[in-house]
């Protein structure tokens, strides 16, 4: 086989391999370094690292020994209950990762066009509320119609929430960072009102009613396993975003505007259209993150439903280098971390907030690869750097 391959091509693949290796190396080292510093914080707070990270691992993947013994039980007696119990932590991690995939894609699409969508949290909330509304207000529809409608509602709600800052940016040059933050607060206040008024379920708590069963994303296992169709939907969307960004003319335009707006304008591309479109897509994806959470996991929406997702989404997009497949990997990592951290909190008494500390560190290391290169003495390989943001209103 190797004889038929021309040598030039071989070196090319080698080069591409090295570039991919480099692309994966820095994020991996950033994660490792983040976890190491996290370990130092744990020790400094007077707890055991092995116990803490052990609980983190058990919480995110489950105990392998339990898994194999459960398999034995299944084969010998046909009882699947122990197996379901053994895979519970793993599936929970995937459940946690599902909205992260959508939210990370949302911010990544923005980065590709040079837009910083810091408002994924608000778009997430609006998307979740819209999906919940479609989910509980329409009754008696077959699932094949109801579920897509509920998802569409979430995408539209989030999309409109994202489109407004996009339009203001394109038309008036108003910076999207401030405007998306403002839209976040408007979303929070608005949802406060909705949850205490028009959308409030009967009862004392300010939450929406439960959605109809026909709007739920179907689950694959019996309770308490919440693993549902949303995860595969997220993977599908990751592929769609990849296809859109890298295989279509519009995607090329978006990336051109992101790389150099002046050049793109000179080449006859419509900056205004691209900004509005990208923010709408970005908001729509964040909205879908909310939909996936409400339709697949919670089935109702309450106050603070979206807390933390906005900043997590930024971290995910950075960690995934704004590439859809990178985002999926990053989302899986965060899903396992967050899901495991819950276990760590209950088993080892380490507050779940340690994950935020590690996340903040990871962002710094990803944004400043020079630190990682300097720490681990890695030689820099010339790669194209994506422009992330462009100051205020430019």
């Amino acid at each position: 086989m190797s004889a038929t391959v021309p040598p030039s091509k071989k070196t090319e693949t080698k080069k591409a391999g090295a570039a991919l290796g480099q692309a994966l190396l820095v994020p991996s080292l950033a994660v490792v370094t983040g976890l190491l510093i996290g370990a130092i914080v744990i020790v400094a707070s007077g707890a055991s690292v092995t116990k803490a990270y052990g609980a983190l691992f058990a919480g995110s993947f489950g105990n392998p020994i339990n898994f194999f013994s459960a398999l034995q039980v299944l084969f010998s007696s046909g009882d699947s209950a122990p197996l379901l119990k053994a895979i519970y932590p793993f599936t929970e991690s995937l459940v946690t990762a599902t909205p992260y995939i959508f939210a990370g894609l949302s911010v990544a699409v923005g980065f590709r066009c040079g837009l910083f969508n810091i408002g994924a949290e608000g778009q997430f909330f609006v998307g979740a509320l819209c999906s919940a509304f479609v989910g509980y207000s329409l009754k008696g529809l077959p699932m094949l119609i109801h579920l897509p409608l509920a998802l569409l509602g979430g995408a539209l709600g989030g999309g409109i929430w994202g489109m407004i800052p996009g339009y203001l940016k394109a038309r008036f040059g108003a910076h999207e960072v401030v405007n998306t933050i403002m839209m976040n607060w408007i979303a929070f206040k608005f949802s406060d009102w909705l949850l205490n008024g028009p959308m409030k379920a009967s009862g004392f708590r300010p939450v929406t009613p439960n959605i109809e069963a026909s709007a739920e994303l179907p689950r694959f296992f019996a309770d308490p396993l919440r693993f549902n169709l949303g995860f595969f939907l997220a993977l599908l969307f990751a592929y769609l975003v990849y296809w859109f960004l890298f295989k279509t003319t519009l995607g090329f335009e978006i990336r051109s505007v992101g790389a150099n707006p002046d050049a793109a304008k000179y080449a006859g591309m419509n900056i205004i259209k691209n900004f509005v479109l990208v923010m709408a897509i970005s908001g729509g994806l964040a909205g879908l993150a909310g939909s996936a959470q409400v339709l697949g996991v919670d089935h109702w929406v309450g106050q603070g439903f979206s807390a933390g997702y906005g900043f997590d989404a930024i971290a995910l997009a950075l960690l995934g280098k704004s590439h859809p497949f990178g985002v999926v990997l990053a989302a899986l990592l965060f899903g396992f971390l967050r899901s495991g951290a819950t276990n760590m909190q209950s088993m080892a008494g380490i507050p779940i907030d340690i994950i935020s500390i590690i996340q903040g560190l990871i962002i710094v290391f990803i944004a400043a690869p020079d630190i990682i290169r300097w720490l681990y003495r890695i030689r820099s390989l010339k790669t194209e750097e994506t422009v992330l943001t462009r100051g205020w209103g430019k």
């Binding site: 401030v178 608005f190 996340q359 903040g360 560190l361 962002i363 710094v364 400043a368």
Partner: protein, 420 residues
């Protein structure tokens, strides 16, 4: 630009004049629609002008006939709108001032009809609530004047708030807590400066990282240590109110301006000092030069990196002071995520205030006003859900950013790393 001496108005100015005039007329109509129609005749509104427990001289409360007052406010707005359409008013600020005053006064008169509304109380809580917002905004102003964006004020304030209360409780000295809070703010900002100047990290990304890290570390420490050791670690008490002799006796203004704790006074001091430094000292001139055209400044022998480092760190010290407000300046203990987005609102106030210390202060007061108004309105139990009023400052900020009401132009080199 607005006071140009050109006799002919350009088409865009003409359009702007008409737009403002029409806006005023529409607002006049809205005042009628929402407030005028719903105010009963013969009912009075009482505005309390005395604050309980203050040293100010007692004056009689302001009692106005509700319906007449609302219609007078409507007439004022309509008259100014008509004048604007016909002749044009030079100062946009004056127009907006009249508009805001009339609308808010009409609104309050309507909301508090047949009831009493404590105006003095609201005004004095306005300044207090504006304090952290203004400090976050000033942190942004001083950094961005040297072209370094710092959106990490929220994270810095959280860390400082926690350090302030812990140091204050441990040393039993609030001033030690204040100093520690200010210093830790400077340290975190120095880290930001190091990342964005030395490693040329994207400035907004670094700010986001500070915010995430700040929220994480303070929540971590809070749930691991503070919740179990509330009395030994998280119970510092608060700064006493310092009344300025004589001045605090002035009715209404006295309790608002001259009966506050040290953090509020320091905030006002920072506003004035920053204005003087930025516009009347060589350092300020160099800072602004670095912010507008670093290359030119460098050519003239200004040390661009030094100016940026120092300004960002000063910004951090100021945000640290803002953090101290939340704990030792206000409630005396730390709660997770207690800054509640004030750092981000400060960012909006900075842009709204056009990167000027006094502008930032004034817009912070607007947000503080909205904040304190909301609290008072909840007491009045009016029919408008307070959530909609709470949205108003955010919507106003977005409108301001569109540049319809005077464009906010950042320093020319803002956000760009400098390479020699």
């Amino acid at each position: 630009m607005t006071n140009s001496t050109v006799a002919h108005k350009s088409a865009s100015e003409k359009r702007k004049q008409i737009a403002y005039g029409l806006t005023l007329l529409v607002v006049g109509f809205l005042i009628y629609l929402f407030f005028g129609r719903n105010t009963e005749a013969g009912v009075v509104t009482t505005f309390g002008l005395n604050l309980a427990g203050s040293q100010a001289l007692k004056i009689p409360d302001l009692v106005v006939p509700a319906q007449t007052t609302v219609y007078m406010m409507m007439a004022l707005v309509v008259f100014v709108g008509a004048y604007q359409l016909a002749r044009g008013v030079r100062s946009t600020g004056l127009l907006l001032g009249i508009l805001a005053f009339a609308f808010i006064f009409a609104f309050l008169t309507w909301a508090a009809q047949a009831k009493s509304f404590n105006l003095a109380g609201m005004l004095s809580s306005m300044l207090v609530r504006a304090t952290p917002i203004a400090l976050a905004a000033l942190c942004g102003v001083i950094s961005e004047r040297s072209a370094v964006i710092n959106i990490g004020a929220e994270g810095i304030m959280l860390i400082s708030a926690q350090v302030a209360v812990v140091v204050g409780t441990l040393t039993k000295n609030l001033y030690a807590g204040l100093l520690a809070a200010i210093l830790i703010g400077g340290v975190v900002a120095a880290l930001h400066a190091f990342l964005v100047i030395r490693f040329k990290v994207d400035q907004i990304v670094s700010g986001v990282a500070i915010n995430i890290f700040g929220a994480g570390i303070t929540s971590f420490i809070s749930s691991r240590f503070l919740q179990s050791g509330t009395n030994t670690l998280n119970n510092s008490g608060t700064f006493p109110i310092i009344s300025i002799p004589i001045l605090s006796k002035i009715p209404v203004l006295g309790p608002m301006l001259f009966e506050n704790n040290i953090v509020v006074y320091l905030m006002v001091l920072v506003v004035v000092a920053m204005h003087i430094v930025l516009f009347y000292t060589p350092w300020g001139l160099r800072t602004r030069a670095v912010g507008e055209h670093p290359k030119a400044a460098d050519t003239l022998g200004v040390n661009v990196y030094l100016i940026r480092y120092v300004n960002v760190i000063i910004g951090g010290l100021i945000a640290g002071l803002g953090g101290a407000y939340f704990t030792i300046g206000s409630v005396g203990r730390f709660d997770e995520t207690m800054t509640a987005g004030k750092g981000f609102i400060g960012l909006a106030a900075m842009i709204f205030g056009k990167w000027n210390p006094f502008g930032a202060f004034a817009s912070s007061m607007l947000f503080g006003f909205a904040d304190s108004l909301q609290v008072k309105l909840q007491i009045l139990r009016i029919s408008i859900p307070s959530e909609f009023l709470l949205m108003a400052p955010y919507i106003v900020t977005m409108i301001v950013l569109t540049g319809i009401i005077g464009r906010a132009i950042p320093p020319a080199a803002d956000g760009q790393p400098y390479e020699k």
